[in-house]
């Protein structure tokens, strides 16, 4: 007991020290801001409070966004805009020049199209199975099971791991002499060189990203399930409604807004996939798991000749896709919160 009270005292003292530090930190600004208030008056103060945040947004979001368009209409390899040559829509023409759009090889910039197709394939499979498994997990966790908190934590914790760590964990499992191949050999199969096969690389890219992010979507769906009023279920039970019918008529319709938000959120994240897969497969074999963000990264930052214009044009294409998705997401969120 003595130990416990000691511990509480220590944590109290730590909290006290932290609070004191924060207070001192704020006090630094006290005098200059009082002076400013005297100059601009109370009515001007909201702008003063907004200033730092808006400055950051302006410097690192708004200005870059404008420069992005400027970049995409210029050529050459110089970074600074004044050195760049105006080329009009040449970059877009180069990106979008395809004989048949269904086949990346017929395009002038085939890596861009390969990246687009890979991203589309990845996103379709990843989002489908991600939402499916999150849904099943959320429905099971919503039942009256023992140790629910524990199981929820188990499914959730990979969300917090860094993409690099996630990729390294799975790379170690899937290596030629890794434990996955040991398992295959022990059940009488041959070893598989996962990262040499394009299909297996894509499969593991999808699998690993689902493994890492499932907990997040499970959590949102679980919150949605728990918000469904229990008396609806009780009424259905009293009427002797079959459980199948309860699912289709009560659970799914009431969960639908959350499900929509989850699907669009997963799409937004899926289209921007880079980190895990880059560390896991490096985009390989060849370009089998190279996605659109990696195309931008490679074109703009790793090629011997850095093509900033092309990278900008490609990122504007990506931006357009994301814009449509985000509008959908905002609409879906609004519908959920109002409905």
């Amino acid at each position: 007991m003595a130990n416990l009270t000691d511990r509480i005292k220590i944590s109290d003292r730590l909290a006290g020290v932290a609070a004191w530090l924060v207070l001192q930190f704020f006090r630094i600004f006290e005098i200059p801001l009082s002076l400013i208030q005297r100059i601009v008056g109370v009515r001007g103060m909201p702008w003063i409070f907004l200033l730092p945040n808006l400055a950051f947004f302006g410097l690192f979001v708004v200005i870059p966004l404008c420069i992005n368009f400027a970049f995409s209409f210029t050529g050459g390899t110089d970074l600074f805009l004044s050195d760049r040559i105006y080329t009009g829509t040449e970059q877009y023409g180069f990106l979008l020049d395809c004989e048949t759009f269904g086949d990346p090889i017929t395009c002038r910039e085939d890596r861009f199209w390969k990246g687009l197709y890979n991203t589309a394939t990845f996103t379709v499979f990843q989002v489908t199975f991600l939402v499916l498994f999150s849904m099943i997990t959320a429905l099971i966790l919503n039942r009256e099971i023992r140790g629910r908190g524990f199981f929820r934590a188990v499914f959730f914790f990979p969300v917090l791991l860094s993409p690099v760590v996630v990729a390294l964990i799975w790379k170690w499992i899937l290596l030629r002499d890794g434990i996955m191949n040991a398992f295959l050999v022990s059940v009488g199969l041959d070893k598989i060189l996962f990262f040499v096969s394009p299909e297996w690389s894509m499969f593991w890219a999808v699998f690993v990203s689902i493994w890492a992010h499932m907990g997040f979507y499970t959590l949102i769906l679980l919150a949605g399930l728990q918000a469904i009023p229990p008396d609806l279920y009780e009424a259905a039970e009293m009427d002797g409604t079959s459980k199948e019918r309860v699912f289709w008529r009560i659970t799914l319709p009431l969960l639908w807004p959350n499900l929509l938000v989850v699907v669009v959120l997963a799409l937004i994240k899926g289209v921007q996939i880079f980190d895990e897969v880059f560390v896991l497969t490096g985009g390989g074999p060849g370009t089998a798991t190279q996605f659109i963000v990696q195309y931008i990264y490679n074109t703009g930052f790793t090629e011997p000749v850095r093509n900033f214009g092309l990278a900008s044009a490609a990122s504007i294409v990506l931006g357009l896709v994301l814009f449509v998705l985000t509008i959908t997401q905002l609409a879906a969120t609004r519908a959920r919160d109002n409905g």
Binding site: N53, D177, I179, K243, E244
Partner: protein
Amino acid sequence: MADTSTQPRTLKSLITARRGRGRLHWTDVFSYTYLFLGVLLMFGPVVWLVLSSFKTPAGLIEFPPTLLPLGQIEVVVEGYEKPLLLFDVVQEDGTTKQLAQVRRIGIISQMVDPENPDKTVRVPIDQRVKVREFRLAVENYTDPLKRFNFVGFLNNSIIVTTVATVITLLINSMAAYALSIYEFRGRNAIMLFVICTLMIPITVILVPVYLVVTQLGMINSLWAVILPGAATPTGVFLLRQYMLTIPKDLIEAARMDKASEWSIYSKVVMPLTMPAIAVLAIFSIMWRWNEFLWPLIVLTRTEVHTLQVGLNAFQGELNVQWHYILAMTVVTLIPVVVVFAFLQKFITTGIASSGMK
């Protein structure tokens, strides 16, 4: 089972089922099977990482791998300077005996009986088996501290995470304060603007932000990682939502007492917003600690690498030294695990209520 006629036998029904009224229904069996397989699939890889990180390089290349980290036992034999490796050797009469290896020549190994060190015997190498014991290769963890810039990476990550989180909390809470406490012309326009910045993730503006950062002379400095992401629209939203619930009377009362606007913000509003601030702090710490693509672009010199970038650079090198990589991976995930263990409830409710990650 008597009531199977009332229980639909489809896969869908088990997902809708809420409980089996005391009896163990097959949907319960399915649920628990699913959950335990889930535990295996979610925890297994991490457990395997931690176990592997304690293996010696020799233990790591073994196929099939052993479950636990094992090390071969060495014995000191009279008459030999160095400790010798111990093997189980099958004798001609079928019994096994423990012998120590003096040297190995091709497929023949010269061995000695530790109890009778004068006589050496020659044994074909396929007739001996290593004698091993459970042993943790702690040097995987201690060597990188000396041999690589691991401490530097760790330092950089800690600096980026702390400084960025402090800046984020300060400027986001200030903006949220302005947008929630004051009524002023242009407030809605600003809110719309913040929503718009939400739509522009860093992946869309990599090249121009790189230009801005270069113009500011911050390439290969930690500021290049800290500053561009410091103003977060999600943070402003979260804090504003919370501040809107603070009663206006409190602020009016403080104004009556001639408190300056800054004191109202720092002494009245901020203490009341602490729960939301804490949620944002945890998220910011996680974002920054795990950030990868942007640091990868702006931090090209090894001295300024953060843990994530350093780890990636290391695993991409030619002779991959997995024993070090695995150990460093474990170190990288420790802070996250600690934070999660203590703040699990906090984080999960934070995500469930704000829907951000």
